[in-house]
Amino acid sequence: MAPRDGQSSFLQRLDRIDRRWIFLAMLLAVAAPILWVGVTGKTFPEEPTPAVQGAFDAVEALPADARVLISMDFDPASAGELQPMATAIVRHCVLRGHRICAMTLWPAGGPIIDGTMQDVLGGRTDFTYGERWVNLGYRAGFEGVMKQMNAHVSLAYANDVRKTPLEQIPMMKGIDGIADFDMLVSISAGYAGAKEWVQYSVSPTLTGRKPLKFVAGSTGVQTPQLIPYYPNQMAGILGAIKGAAEYEYLVNQAVLKADPGAVVPPRFQEAQRRMAPQLFGHVLMVLLIVLGNVVFVGLRPREARA
């Protein structure tokens, strides 16, 4: 039935809907699952994708006491996406008995390293600073830092954040260039980050004596740029919060497999908790895209007549 003069059809009203209704709908679609998950404590099971499984397997394959360089190249603005994967990877390394060397190329990354290590280690006293892990902190220079570290780590970092010279730190004994680490992990939100690590530090070692194993964790925006590097130039990618949830799930399953009676602390399920709001947010997005196309197609003949 054609609308009467001065009266809008349903499609026309939808076409002119105030976009704040869409914001409100998105708010509810994301908030309601958060409250539901927060109250019930339930999370969705995850099915790891090959890229995440590859990252997990690469960490698993390292021998105990392996030295892993983790560059946390992000700031609080991206912590909602990247903090859970930083926590999961560091926790995995700690559980496997690897030694961790943490650094950042982002000025605001320093406190993130401290917070992540405190979250994972909690009150553990056996994972001693200097022997099991070290915090090199922030260094300005982006690719310049990478180039220096390729040759000699001490060129970029003469000392750690506690001002201890590298040569006096037990776990840095025998580390000269970046290739002396058993693995490089970059959790990055953009420039300088995973892409630059592949270009400047990983690719030059691929044809050499000891290719540097590399795993990346990245924001959703950055992930499509990194996918071409997998699997030849990197062992695995944790793409956005979904990748973090899958990795978290794999680590938690490994813990439960080793000790079926273990209780996984809620702080190690942060990414998995965020998947319910993701689901409802995406369903709403799909509905809105379909609705928008229905309105577009439905109004087109009328506009053509006009």
């Binding site: 708010l27 605001a108 001002k163 925006v221």
Partner: protein, 322 residues
Amino acid sequence: MSQFPAGTQVDPAVARRAQRLFMAVLAVIAALLVVRAWVGSDVGSGANTQVVHGFGMVYVEQQGATHVQVPASTWADAVAADPAQQKVAVSWPRTFGIWMAAFLTIAVLSFLWRDNPLYKLAESVVVGVSAGYVMATAVWSSLIDQVFGKLAPELTREYLSPGLAVGDRDWWALVPLALGMLLLCRLSSKLSWVGMFPLAFVVGVFSGWRFVQYVESDLVAQLATMFDPLYVPGPTMAATVGGTLCAVLVLVGVLSVLAYFFFSLEHTGAVGGAARVGIWYLMITFGASFGFTVMGRIALLAARLEFLFDDWLWLIDPSGKH
């Protein structure tokens, strides 16, 4: 007030109704907060339960010289055991931080309603704090430690950076210092030409680095994968078919997208067909990028809402903080 693009008709009555509804929603939220504070929250369990008429509070425990955040239940247990205890207490600075974070979060989200002074305030605070933090970090980690620490090691350790491990004086540090000083000449209209030299140095160095590394990692290494066999055997028939199909799709994608960007031939016939396939590849790629972007944005929104519901309002407690 209009949220529509210029030229779009807005029904004033609809806009007024929407505004009234949003104001009502805000009023209900404010009323709920007041009720929430009046009812209070039970902290702790069993006989140790304490009622606090507030939320967003942070409790800390003194451990040596530092204070470590602890769950509110720890505070309740400590108070029940000894009402005069001072080891576990409310941290007013951290509580203020939670409230400031909540205020700034809501202020930024208020932009979705419309541009307003609260949003402007939050925007300015974030930009100002970020710029200040980055500058302070750069000064202390680069200028003080890396430049002054090499030019005047003892003096730097004595007066600027206690504990800094120093070596011999390194006069090469004068080079970056001089380049940095020259860069400041850009601020002067008469001497701005001098600032071109450090700029040229930076651009030249980065161009050289990037050229080599892009060729190595994005051209040669990526091109090498094009010579991988199209038949990819897997542990199962499905894996073999899947792997082989992926390899073929990658090869077709590379050739068709290259055809689309090859403008020396008219896009007709076989070249036109390949170019059209290339367009499909590009569209699917953009769609995947858009999907990842949506996922990222929803993740950030979820993180902020979880903060509001958990750390601030204490409506949920997934991490056992209170």
